[in-house]
């Protein structure tokens, strides 16, 4: 670990806006602004929130022979997704797996015509880049001169549309280059909140000006990592290092949906990625444990690490909470854990909180209904 934390191109703006800064994955990041986590969360669900996600890794993977099929098939040796059939201008979600079928990281990958753009977690970026550099036939180019902004919420399209009208024509998971004041912005219609919105890669020299232009829109408020976490939790989205890690398989993380038929057993390009035998066999049979939603009764949050039990007195642990907290839009505590996949929704289990067992209901994910523009 580096002794010094890195700053994004929006650091000065965060300070000016009164952010409380915290170290996160080696970066100095805003955890909240003066509005506070609760109101930032609610503002994003009702209007639009601007998130600095410049700490995330942006990586270009380019075919050396100029043929995108070369790069797609190379990526498919690391990622159990359909990269080959991803159309230009489109983006997908995927996973890097290890030899045991555990998850090394999750990522977005976009076909940008003559290269793929990958966006990976900050804490995993160096490892992911080294992993990608083992591929043959492609160049791997970390993007070091751009920041990344997420604009999320039902009014995100209206706000961005005033700056870049063409952005409003984009559909969920489109990924395009659009101009703003002479700068090329790499825009995808996606996010990590369960709301409509955009993720926008901006050249460093235009980053602050673009962020200020968005913040000038009446719908838009700056949002910190605190609300980013509660928004994604309510949206049932897993967080790397918490809901998934190298010991958790795609099926256990409830991310089997990211592995299409074409890469599964019986498909034309089945397997061919690290841990494929284990991953695919488990998808065929169904995992014994998987990521489930949890709704504690009452108002007390159950947070990461809280032990879960099948009954009020027994000592047979079901697992531990992976992500948990208070859901401002739900109006109560919400959590996720990897537990027995066969327990029906509505089953009451028990969480051990400060020495007491409190009842928790297994609930469907997500906790809030997404509002993507498909």
């Amino acid at each position: 670990m580096a002794d010094t934390t890195r700053r994004t191109g929006l650091y000065d703006l965060h300070i000016e806006l009164g952010a409380k800064m915290v170290p996160f994955a080696g970066w100095d990041m805003p955890v909240q602004f003066p509005m506070g986590v609760m109101n930032e969360h609610l503002h994003t669900r009702e209007h639009a929130g601007l998130f600095d996600v410049s700490h995330m890794g942006q990586v270009i993977v380019r075919p050396l022979d100029g043929n995108m099929q070369t790069a797609a098939l190379a990526l498919e040796t690391l990622i159990p997704a359909n990269v080959l059939d991803l159309a230009p201008g489109r983006q997908r979600y995927g996973l890097f797996t290890n030899d045991r079928g555990g998850i090394l990281d999750d990522l977005m990958f976009a076909n940008r015509g003559d290269h793929f753009l990958l966006v990976v977690n900050a804490a995993c970026a160096d490892q992911d880049i080294a992993h990608l550099q083992t591929l043959e036939g492609v160049s791997v180019e970390p993007v070091t001169d751009r920041g990344l902004i997420a604009l999320q919420g039902p009014r995100a399209g209206a706000a961005l549309g005033r700056l870049i009208p063409a952005a409003t024509d984009m559909r969920f998971m489109d990924s395009l280059t659009l101009g703003w004041q002479g700068h090329d912005l790499w825009i995808s219609r996606s996010g990590y909140t369960g709301e409509d919105g955009f993720e926008i890669s901006v050249p460093d020299h235009a980053l602050e000006a673009f962020a200020r232009a968005l913040l000038d829109q009446p719908e838009v408020a700056p949002i910190g990592l605190g609300a980013r976490d509660s928004l994604r939790l309510e949206a049932g989205m897993p967080l790397y290092g918490h809901d998934m890690d190298p010991e958790v398989t795609p099926a256990q993380a409830a991310l089997g949906w990211s592995i299409p038929k074409v890469r599964r057993n019986g498909g034309p390009r089945a397997g061919g990625f690290p841990g494929a035998d284990a991953v695919l066999a488990e998808l065929d049979t169904g995992p014994a444990t998987t990521r489930r939603g949890l709704r504690p009764e009452g108002r007390a949050p159950i947070r990461e690490g809280v032990a879960l039990f099948a009954d009020q007195t027994g000592d047979a642990p079901l697992g531990t909470v992976r992500s948990g907290g208070f859901g401002p839009s739900v109006g109560g505590p919400v959590a996720m854990a990897i537990i027995d996949a066969s327990l029906p929704e509505g089953t009451t289990i028990w969480a051990e909180l400060r020495g007491k067992r409190v009842p928790v209901t297994i609930a469907a994910l997500p906790f809030v209904t997404p509002s993507y523009k498909r």
């Binding site: 986590v37 969360h41 009452g298 949050p301 208070f326």
Partner: protein, 119 residues
């Protein structure tokens, strides 16, 4: 008489009881409070006992008994409106305690000393 603890509690003497809450500084550090677990009336406590659990959007924290004594009342309204702690921390009292030592409150910081601590 209003006094303050190192743990950012405010203590207000009322008759032979002390009313206890947390300061604005503490409420700002905690962030939005979403859950409060209060002690039961009649409980005998010793100074330093963790008797209140406060959960904010960020984390769980404990509030300790500033002095030994008996809990004579708790603010049950906070259970349904924990956000009152952020909205008006000086009004959002947690509990009243009858101290075993009637002079116990004397030793705590006055407002000037507390201000010096948090500024």
């Amino acid at each position: 008489m209003l006094k303050y603890t190192d743990d950012h509690e405010w203590l207000r003497a009322e008759g032979d009881e002390i009313v206890v809450g947390i300061t604005k500084h503490a409420s700002e550090q905690l962030g939005d409070v979403v859950f409060i677990e209060l002690p039961e009336e009649g409980t005998d406590v010793i100074a330093g006992d963790e008797i209140v659990v406060i959960e904010s959007v960020k984390a769980a924290s404990d509030i300790t008994a500033p002095v030994g004594g008996t809990i004579t009342a708790v603010n049950t309204a906070l259970a349904d409106a924990p956000g009152d702690v952020n909205a008006d921390p000086m009004a959002a009292w947690f509990f009243r305690i009858k101290p075993a030592d009637p002079a116990a409150i004397e030793g705590f910081m006055d407002e000037a000393a507390y201000k010096a601590l948090v500024d």
